[in-house]
């Protein structure tokens, strides 16, 4: 707010005849407003990468055309076929797993869901998990009581990328359409928890179930995306503190996508998830690094908020993200309506100037 500071400096430096310009000059708040209109640090977190044209050149154009044909006419159908066949096998295998006696059932179901995640990953990379395009770094997570995994969030594909390596139960928004069916029918077996982010009641319920899940030593590793929304993998928005006041050890996971072939950011306002998947499947490959970082515990005297910020900083550093102060839920509500105090604090600045001109009656 440099302009506001200069506003105050200006007025205090010119005490003679200050009435008129103090009251009449509204250039400072107007400039703040216009600056926010042309650029703001919130929307930047949710901006898809722009494709820089590189192909308009006599030598590159034929190659590019060849690439387009190859990707759309050969690679894409093969991947789609893999995905559909894989899904078919998955559906049958899941039914078989369900029919097993309880002792083996959970394990089998988890294995089958992991298989499906691997099929998804194959349909984006053309390769099996762990083979060069998606690289996993650090120790493979193991299930123990009182642990929770947190990761930065770019798209729902994050979940498949992680599950292909090791299955997780996750806290998710319940989606409409085929994704919702998939969540309800299959992911339940992993102990995934669903909620609707706009319902405060849902959130308290999930928090309780999260505690139960983490306390249970036999449950799946629990994965939480504390940003609560998809960010473009360039920024990292505020971590919600739910995962950090469970009293559990937090294991950070940093996911960094390489945008060389395709932008993994799912802009849910602009694109359906299906369209997002098709876009990835028609690209050369999804390139990504996943880092399992050192588990962290809350330090004595550290608040949940500070703990969340510390873990956020770790993830942001590893995934080369810029930390932004915004709450990602601002996508769904208007800041001023939720926090009228923020306008009030700005108003106090102006009111301090105007009230200098009040003449006692």
């Amino acid at each position: 707010m440099a302009s506001k500071a200069s506003f105050m400096r200006r007025t205090s430096a010119n005490p003679v005849g200050l009435t008129r310009s103090d009251v009449l000059d509204i250039s400072s708040p107007l400039n703040d407003a216009a600056s926010a209109i042309v650029d703001d640090s919130f929307l930047r977190c949710f901006t898809s990468a722009v494709d820089e044209p590189w192909n308009w050149n006599f030598y590159l154009l034929p190659l590019w055309i060849l690439g387009v044909v190859l990707r759309n006419a050969i690679i894409f159908p093969l991947r789609l076929l893999t995905l559909l066949l894989g899904a078919l096998v998955f559906i049958v295998a899941f039914m078989v797993a369900e029919a097993l006696p309880a002792k083996h059932r959970t394990l089998a179901e988890r294995r089958v869901v992991q298989f499906m995640a691997q099929i998804f990953v194959t349909s984006w990379t053309g390769m099996r998990e762990g083979e060069c395009v998606i690289r996993y770094h650090g120790p493979r997570p193991v299930s123990t009581a009182n642990r929770v995994w947190v990761a930065n969030h770019t798209s729902m594909i994050d979940y498949a990328v992680l599950c292909a390596y090791t299955p997780f139960a996750a806290i998710m928004q319940l989606h409409p359409g085929w994704v919702g069916l998939f969540q309800k029918r299959y992911l339940n077996s992993l102990g995934c928890l669903y909620f609707n982010r706009t319902q405060a009641k849902d959130r308290t319920l999930v928090h309780q179930r999260m505690r139960d899940h983490v306390a249970d030593p036999n449950s799946m590793p629990l994965l939480i995306f504390p940003e609560g929304t998809c960010v473009n993998n360039e920024y990292c928005v505020m971590f919600r503190k739910g995962a950090f006041d469970l009293g559990a050890t937090v294991c950070p996971i940093a996911i960094k996508y390489n945008k060389i072939f395709v932008d993994a950011f799912w802009n849910s306002k602009r694109q359906s998830f299906t369209a997002h998947l098709l876009k990835i499947m028609r690209s050369w490959a999804l390139v990504c690094d996943v880092y399992f970082l050192e588990p962290q515990s809350k330090q004595p005297g550290e608040s949940s908020q500070e703990f969340a910020e510390r873990v956020q900083a770790m993830i942001a550093k590893r995934a080369r993200l810029t930390v932004a102060p915004w709450d990602g839920y601002l996508k769904y509500y208007n800041l001023a309506e939720k926090h009228p105090d923020l306008i009030e604090s700005q108003r106090r600045t102006y009111s301090a100037i105007i009230s200098k001109h009040v003449v006692p009656l």
């Binding site: 008129r20 209109i37 703001d40 800041l335 105007i354 009656l361």
Partner: protein, 186 residues
């Protein structure tokens, strides 16, 4: 900046713009003079980003969904100017805030924001309303009125209020904080 810009009346815009109006009305350059190509491109990207549902115009809700704007004390007042504007109007609106805009243009923008009822005079009521946006309820009505009266007298207003010329005169050589730069980096 060309002279015709200063004459653009920000309030008398037709609403309900058509989806493709900005392409029909090209070249924009006629209108916006010194705003260069890069800035236009950057503004166009920005416009498309703000136009969440791709209607070809931006609603005031879309503007107020920018957190930093929504907490601006004048946001409510400004949302009146930016309701359903298409790209050309968007650029015209912003050009008055630009660091490159002339003093006259900047003053015109400020005057128009102040002149709430749009009759060409800043009346006491206009001023009361604008100051309420700016300071909220921190001052009592009588206190605010006393400030307004004193300002009016000092600025030489007549019964109807301040004219643009008087407004300009009253601000004298006050340095205006309007110095908008369009980021063209990314």
């Amino acid at each position: 900046m060309t002279q015709n810009l200063a004459d653009v009346d920000l309030r008398k815009r037709e609403l309900a713009p058509s989806r493709h109006r900005e392409t029909q009305d090209l070249p924009l350059a006629n209108l916006i003079g010194e705003v260069d190509q890069q800035e236009i491109e950057a503004l166009y990207k920005r416009f498309r980003r703000l136009d969440k549902d791709r209607k070809g115009f931006i609603s005031s809700e879309e503007f107020l969904s920018i957190p930093e704007l929504s907490i601006n004390p004048l946001a409510q007042r400004l949302s009146f100017f930016v309701e359903s504007i298409n790209f050309k109007e968007f650029v015209t609106f912003l050009s008055g805030f630009s660091a490159k805009a002339g003093r006259e243009e900047k003053l015109k923008v400020m005057f128009d924001v102040y002149d709430v009822d749009g009759d060409g005079f800043i009346s006491e009521d206009d001023m009361a309303q604008t100051l309420r946006y700016l300071i909220g309820s921190t001052l009592a009505e009588a206190e605010l009125r006393s400030v307004i009266e004193r300002t009016m007298v000092a600025a030489g207003a007549d019964a109807k209020g301040l004219t643009f010329a008087q407004y300009k005169e009253a601000l004298g050589d006050t340095q205006l904080a309007l110095n908008l730069e369009v980021p063209t980096g990314d």
